[in-house]
C-alpha cells in the first residue's frame, strides 16, 4: 500500500483520468461490402474512483467500446477524449494512451509469451522505458495485486494453472499503473472459486489504487457483487446507465435484449406478487436475506 509521509493512504495518481466518448460510432469493414455497424453514436464519460460494469449480450458492441478506449480501434466517427485531448489528435502518441488506459483482453492468458512470469509482467513497464529498479518494483506490486505468489515469478508462465495464468496476464497490465483499467470478461470460463478470486483481487486493486476500473461482463451476478455503476448496451447503443439498483429494478426491460437478471431478483419479484414486498432493488442474496428478516420483523411488530 502506498502511504504518504504521515502514513496516510494516497491514491496512485493525483489526477483522475477521465475518458469521454463524444458521438462515437464504429463500423467494422467500413466502406466495404460487409460493413457492420458495431457502435452507433455513443456519448459517455467514464472515470472517477469506482468500479464500472459494462453489460450486454454478444454483439451488443461492448467489446468494441472497450477497444476504443485505449486506441486499439479508431472511431469511424466522433472523438475519444482522454483528460481533455482527443487521443487521435497525434496518432504517433497513441502508445502513451495505452499506458494510461490499461486493457486486459478476453482470455488474456493467451498473450503470455516470455520465459518467466516476471519477464512477462515486465513487458509493459519495459515498453514504457523504465529503469530496472522501477520495473522490479512494478512487477512485485502488480504480482501482489493479482495475488500471485512471489515464488511463481521465476517459473515459466506455461507451467501455471489456468487461474494463475489469467492472474499473471492481469498483473502484466496492472504493472503499467494505468489510470484507468479496463477488463473484458475477466472471469470468463473460470469456476466459481476462480471467479471470486480474480474479481475479488480486481475490486481490492480498485480500492487500494483509487483508480477507475471498468469490467465488461455477461454476468449480472458479478456486476451486482462488485460494481458501483452499471452500463447496459444493446445493439450498439447505451440502453441504461446507473447504479445497480437503478438498472436491476428495470429488469423486465433487460430480458428482451438477451440479458438475464440474477435469479434472486426473480425471487424478489415473485415474493412481491405474493404480498411479501422487500423492494425492487434486490440483486444479491445477502441483501435479500437481510431485507427478508427486516420484513419479518416488521410484520411481527405490526401484529403485536
Amino acid at each position: 500500500m502506498r502511504k504518504d509521509s504521515h502514513g496516510a493512504k494516497v491514491p496512485w495518481h493525483t489526477t483522475m483520468a477521465q475518458v469521454e466518448l463524444k458521438n462515437v460510432s464504429f463500423t467494422y469493414g467500413d466502406g466495404g461490402p460487409y460493413a457492420v455497424r458495431a457502435l452507433d453514436d455513443i456519448s459517455i464519460t467514464l472515470g472517477g474512483s469506482e468500479m464500472i460494469g459494462i453489460m450486454g449480450h454478444t454483439g451488443s458492441g461492448k467489446s468494441t467500446l472497450v477497444q476504443l478506449l485505449n486506441g486499439i480501434l479508431k472511431p469511424s466517427e466522433g472523438q475519444v477524449i482522454l483528460d481533455g485531448t482527443d487521443i487521435w489528435e497525434n496518432p504517433k502518441k497513441i502508445r502513451d494512451v495505452r499506458f494510461k488506459v490499461g486493457l486486459v483482453m478476453q482470455y488474456p492468458e493467451y498473450q503470455l509469451f516470455d520465459e518467466t512470469v516476471r519477464d512477462d509482467i515486465a513487458f509493459g513497464p519495459k515498453n514504457m522505458g523504465m529503469t530496472r529498479e522501477e520495473i522490479e518494483t512494478r512487477v512485485l506490486e502488480a504480482a501482489r495485486f493479482a495475488r500471485l505468489d512471489e515464488g511463481l515469478l521465476d517459473k515459466s508462465p506455461f507451467e501455471l494453472s489456468g487461474g494463475q495464468k489469467r492472474r499473471a496476464a492481469l498483473a502484466g497490465v496492472i504493472a503499467m499503473r494505468p489510470e484507468l483499467l479496463v477488463l473484458d470478461e475477466p472471469a470468463a470460463g473460470l469456476d466459481p472459486g476462480g471467479r471470486l478470486e480474480i474479481l475479488g483481487s480486481i475490486k481490492e486493486y480498485q480500492k487500494e489504487s483509487g483508480t477507475s476500473v471498468i469490467i465488461v461482463s455477461h454476468s449480472m451476478e458479478d456486476m451486482a457483487m462488485y460494481c458501483d455503476r452499471v452500463i447496459v448496451m444493446a445493439s450498439g447503443r447505451i440502453m441504461m446507465d446507473g447504479t445497480c439498483a437503478d438498472v436491476f429494478s428495470q429488469y423486465d426491460e433487460l430480458l428482451p435484449v438477451g440479458l438475464d437478471v440474477p435469479q434472486i431478483t426473480h425471487v424478489a419479484a415473485a415474493l412481491a406478487k405474493r404480498g411479501v414486498d422487500i423492494g425492487k432493488d434486490i440483486y444479491t442474496v445477502k441483501y435479500a436475506a437481510a431485507r427478508l428478516s427486516e420484513y419479518a420483523e416488521e410484520v411481527r411488530r405490526r401484529e403485536s
Partner: protein, 274 residues
Amino acid sequence: MNLNISFGQYCEGNSILHRMDPRMKIIASILFIVVIFLAKNLFSFALLILSAVVLIAISAIPVRIIARGMKALTFIILFTSIINIFWIKGETELVSFGFIHIYLEGILNALMIALRIIILLVGTSILMTYTTTPIALTDGLEQLLAPLKVLHLPVHEFSMMMTIALRFIPTLIEETQKIMNAQKARGADFSTGSLIQRAKALVPILVPLFLSAFRRAEELATAMECRCYTGGEGRTRMNILHATSKDYLFCAAFVLLGAAIILLNRLGGYALAW
C-alpha cells in the same frame, strides 16, 4: 498491419458452373491455361476474350467482384506490360528518345501479355475459386490424384491437410489479430525501429500464436480420433462426385476452343513473340 484477408473467395451461386463436378472444373482449367498459351495473334486473342466473357456470363459472378480481385494484381500486370513495351524490338518505331525505343510491336506485345494474364486469372478463378468451395476443390483434387495411391503417395492425407488448413486459416488470422491487440495494449510497437527491432517485436506474437496452434492441433487430433477417424482407409464420402455428360461436353468445348485458336493463329497478323 491489418490482417483483413478474405480467404478462398468462394462466391455463393447456383449457376451451371457452380453445380459442375469439381474434377471437371480442374481439368477444364488446365485445358484453358494451355489454350491461352496457344493463342498467338489478334484473331485468336479476340476468341479468347470472347470465351472469357462467356465464362463470366454463365458463372453469374458479378463483374465488380471479379474486378476487385483483379485490382490486387494491377501492379504485376502493369509491370510485365511495361517491360514488354521497352523490351520488344520490331519494325515500326513509334518513339525514339535516347536509348529508349518503342515499337508498335512492343505495344501490341504488351497488350497481349496483359490480356493473357487477365484472361488466365479470370478464367481459372471463375472455374475454380469463385464457383467451387475449397472443400469441393480439395475433394476433386484428391479424387483426380487417387490413381497415385498405387505409388503409395499419401493422397488422402494431403487433401485432409488442405481441408484442415483451409478450416483453420480464418481462425488463426483472427487469433493473430487478438494477440497483436493484446500486446499493443501493453505498449508493443510493431511499426517503428530497425529491421532487427521489428523482427524482435514479433516474438510476443509468434510465441503465443505457435503455442495456441499446437494446442489446437492436439485438441483437433483427439476430437478426430473420438470421431473414429483412422485415416483414409475404409472412409466413404457423403458427396460422391459424378461427372455428367454435360461436364464432359464442357471439357470438350475447351479442346475445341484450342483447335479453333490454332486455326486462327494461321490467319496471320502480328504474332506474339513468346
